[in-house]
C-alpha cells in the first residue's frame, strides 16, 4: 500500500490519515518500522471521555450513529483538534485514501477538508 497523496511538512513527524483505520494502522506501523515518527488519531490521542461516550452512543444507535449526530460528538471535536494540531506543528501528512472503497466518513472528510482544503 502507498500514500495516495502527501502534504509535505516542516518537521520529521508524519501523520497518517485514510478512510479506514484498519488500513491506516498497518501503513503507519510500516512507516514506524523504518524509524519514522508516525502518529494516527488512535490510542492515547483519544480521551477516555470521548472513547466512553462514543461507545455509549454507538451502542444506543445500534452501531449506526447518523452523520449529523457524529459531527457533534466529543470524538469528532478531538479528531478535529488533532488534525489542526498537526497542521499548526507543520507535520507531514500522508493520506492513504480509501483503499477499501468504503462509504463516506464525516471524520475522514473533515480531516481532508482541513489538510487539503477543497482539493478532493
Amino acid at each position: 500500500m502507498s500514500a495516495k497523496r502527501i502534504l509535505p511538512g516542516t518537521n520529521d513527524n508524519v501523520a497518517v490519515i485514510g478512510r479506514n483505520m484498519d488500513a491506516v494502522k498497518p501503513f503507519a506501523d510500516a512507516l514506524g518500522k523504518q524509524g519514522i515518527e508516525v502518529e494516527t488519531f488512535s490510542g492515547s490521542k483519544i480521551s477516555k471521555a470521548a472513547n466512553d461516550a462514543f461507545k455509549e452512543l454507538s451502542t444506543r444507535y445500534g452501531g449506526k450513529i447518523p452523520d449529523d449526530v457524529l459531527v457533534n460528538t466529543k470524538m469528532f471535536s478531538e479528531n478535529q483538534a488533532w488534525v489542526e494540531g498537526i497542521m499548526n506543528k507543520g507535520g507531514t501528512v500522508a493520506d492513504i485514501g480509501n483503499p477499501f472503497d468504503a462509504g463516506k466518513s464525516v471524520f475522514y472528510e473533515m480531516e481532508k477538508s482541513i489538510i487539503f482544503g477543497g482539493i478532493k
Binding site: 483505520m21 488512535s42 454507538s58 451502542t59 444507535y61
Partner: protein, 158 residues
C-alpha cells in the same frame, strides 16, 4: 455524568438481567469477589435527553468488570450490554474492542432487538456469551495473571 440510584420503569427487566447474570457467574472458573448494581442516569452529548442503564460492578481478583445493560433511548426495540475491564494503572479493556480485533462475531450477541428475540432469549444469549468468554479467554485477566489491550473499534465510522 450523574450517577443516581433511582427507580426505573425498567426495573423488572434489569432484575431479569441481573438474576441471569448471577446464575451464569456461578459457572465461572474465576469467581467474583463482589457484585454491586445500581441504576445510572447520565447525559450523553449530543443527545438532548438523559440516558439510563443498569450498571453492575463486578470485582474479580485481578480486575473490576463494569457491565452496563439497558434499552436504547433511540431505537426502543434495542437492548444492549457494554462491558469493560479495569485495573489500576492499566488502560481499560472494552469487550467490544477485544472481540472486534479478533473478528469475533459474538460481539453482535451483546445486543438484541426485541422484535427478533424475547427479553429472556436475548438476555440468556448475552450471559452465555459473557460466561464463555470469561471462562475460555479472559480468565487469566480476571485472575490477575495478565492484562490485555485492544485497539479502539471504529465500527466503520472512520
Amino acid at each position: 455524568m450523574n450517577l443516581t440510584n433511582q427507580k426505573s420503569p425498567l426495573n423488572d427487566i434489569y432484575a431479569l438481567f441481573e438474576s441471569h447474570l448471577q446464575e451464569g457467574f456461578k459457572l465461572l472458573k474465576i469467581k467474583p469477589i463482589s457484585i454491586e448494581s445500581r441504576i445510572r442516569h447520565f447525559n450523553l452529548q449530543p443527545l438532548p435527553n438523559p440516558c439510563e442503564e443498569l450498571e453492575l460492578e463486578v470485582e474479580f481478583p485481578g480486575a473490576i468488570c463494569i457491565i452496563h445493560f439497558g434499552q436504547s433511548e433511540i431505537h426502543t426495540d434495542l437492548f444492549f450490554s457494554l462491558v469493560r475491564f479495569e485495573r489500576q494503572d492499566h488502560r481499560a479493556l472494552f469487550l467490544g474492542d477485544y472481540l472486534a480485533e479478533r473478528n469475533d462475531k459474538r460481539k453482535a450477541s451483546l445486543s438484541f432487538s426485541d422484535t427478533e428475540f424475547t427479553l429472556e432469549e436475548g438476555i440468556t444469549r448475552i450471559v452465555e456469551v459473557l460466561v464463555a468468554i470469561f471462562n475460555n479467554e479472559l480468565h487469566p485477566l480476571l485472575a490477575g495473571l495478565t492484562w490485555i489491550t485492544a485497539e479502539f473499534d471504529w465500527e466503520g465510522y472512520k
